[in-house]
């Protein structure tokens, strides 16, 4: 897992709400958002499925995207928020 930047200081461009969805749907929603987004955009995925914790970093590795880590904050109580920076400059 790479933590290229402190997730708290990153500007989030797109939020993908995958709460309540089971694997592999959170990763599919992330991939759909990534397909349509500009290079360098930061996507935050909200998920409740425990598998997302392993699978979002794994997707980043397989797709050569930059995994920024899990955001912490008030939202973290009922779901996790994973941040990804798309490859390329934006």
């Amino acid at each position: 897992m790479s933590h290229a930047a402190d997730p708290a200081e990153v500007h989030v461009d797109i939020v993908v709400d995958a709460r309540g969805l089971r694997c592999p749907l959170p990763v599919i929603r992330l991939a759909e958002a990534a397909r349509d987004a500009r290079p360098g955009a930061v996507i935050e995925v909200w998920a409740t499925d425990p598998a997302a914790r392993a699978d979002i970093p794994a997707w980043c590795r397989l797709r050569h995207q930059d995994y920024l880590g899990e955001a912490t904050g008030p939202a973290a109580a009922d779901h996790a928020a994973y941040r990804v920076r798309l490859a390329g400059t934006g």
Binding site: M1, C23, L25, V27, I28, A31, A51, D55, P57, L62
Partner: protein, 374 residues
């Protein structure tokens, strides 16, 4: 089960039904048969019969193996060091002990690399920490097949004076039995034997005892004798498996290599486990954007029995702790465990059919989720 072990089991139901602890003629016959079975398995593992005992399952043998080390070392401390991909028979009781005591340090899980191998320097410093009285490591992982660096880990445990429990549930009979251990646990299922026969090896040199009253005197250290027909079937399976091992393992290794290659050719499929330091007969891969449960059903529909470590196939909704610890993709996961050639004579043809079905199964499952264009 091996077909000859099955024949032995059926015959032994008539010949070895009696309680081997009694003194009448049938009981003495059962005793003699049980002793012979114990000798065969002990000899195969390179130990003396008195060092071998039985447990109701491989998982129970592993649990006892660890418990006996912890109990023997209780005056020196309570720390257990274990690989992060160990069987739940090690990790679940270890976590329970730690949480009951409110002390996270009672279980230290040593991380693994992406292939599932523990880091030897980390293992070394973990067992050197004060209060460490037991360590546990698999010979090989039953989910991903990766073989652990047992010789190196046993050496660092020796240097620290900490006994090493080796869990060989996935490997016994498939590859040469390990010799680098202080306590060894296994399961007759791995060598084509019947269910219900766990084995536990506690060499004389190892300090090991279970809490509670001492078991019946006789074989091993505290284990009760299994039902005699099961022990006989396990011994017969061992002999058959040992006689064929080198040829069988080479053939299985090549068949698994074909599955690994076929899976790796499908786009966005990740093949897990060490490519060469692995069991001959186990292979695991994960398909991105695929649902593990749907993949299992698609293969089942085509006549293939596969397992999965994906969360959606587990009653807990948690993905496999092995895949998670390795940092690999957990969804769309498929695990194939090849039976022995003697158990499934048509396995080479089945592997060929499996390899040709693999791309269409993955494509079908992805398109069900609308994920075929990602």
């Amino acid at each position: 089960m091996h077909p000859l072990a099955r024949d032995t089991l059926l015959a032994a139901v008539d010949a070895g039904w009696a309680d081997p602890r009694r003194l009448y003629a049938e009981a003495r016959t059962a005793r003699r048969l049980l002793d012979q079975a114990t000798e065969v398995i002990a000899a195969g593992l390179g130990v003396r019969p008195a060092e071998l005992s039985f447990a109701p399952s491989g998982a129970e043998a592993v649990r006892r193996a660890v418990e006996g080390c912890l109990h023997s070392g209780r005056r020196r401390g309570g720390r257990l060091v274990a690989g992060a991909v160990e069987h739940s028979a090690v990790l679940a009781p270890g976590r329970h002990r730690a949480s009951q005591a409110g002390d996270d340090g009672l279980l230290q899980e040593v991380p693994v690399d992406r292939d599932g191998r523990v880091d030897v320097p980390t293992f070394s410093s973990a067992v050197a920490a004060p209060g460490t009285v037991a360590a546990a490591l698999q010979h090989a992982n039953g989910e991903v097949g990766t073989v652990q660096p047992l010789d190196e880990v046993h050496a660092v445990c020796r240097a620290a004076g900490v006994p090493l429990v080796v869990d060989a549930q996935a490997s016994l009979g498939r590859v040469p039995a390990p010799s680098a251990y202080d306590v060894l646990a296994g399961d007759a299922l791995s060598w084509g034997g019947p269910g219900g026969v766990g084995v536990l090896v506690v060499p004389e040199r190892t300090r090991w005892s279970l809490p509670g009253p001492a078991g019946e005197p006789g074989h091993g250290r505290g284990g009760e004798a299994p039902w005699v027909p099961l022990a006989l079937a396990a011994a017969e399976a061992w002999q058959q498996c040992a006689a064929e091992q080198a040829r069988e393992a080479a053939e299985a290794f090549d068949l698994v290599e074909r599955i690994r290659a076929a899976a790796a050719e499908v786009p966005d499929v990740e093949v897990m486990g060490h490519p060469t330091a692995r069991l001959p007969h186990v292979v695991t891969f994960s398909a991105l954007y695929a649902d593990g449960e749907a993949v299992v059903h698609e293969f089942d529909r085509r006549g293939f029995s596969v397992a999965s470590g994906s969360a959606c196939t587990a009653s807990t909704l948690e993905p496999s702790h092995v895949l998670t610890a390795m940092g690999v993709l957990t969804h769309g996961n498929v695990r194939v465990t090849l039976p022995l050639g003697a158990v499934a004579p048509g396995r080479a043809a089945a592997v060929a059919r499996f390899c040709s079905a693999l791309p269409e199964v993955v494509a079908a499952v992805r398109s069900q989720l609308g994920a075929d264009r990602l």
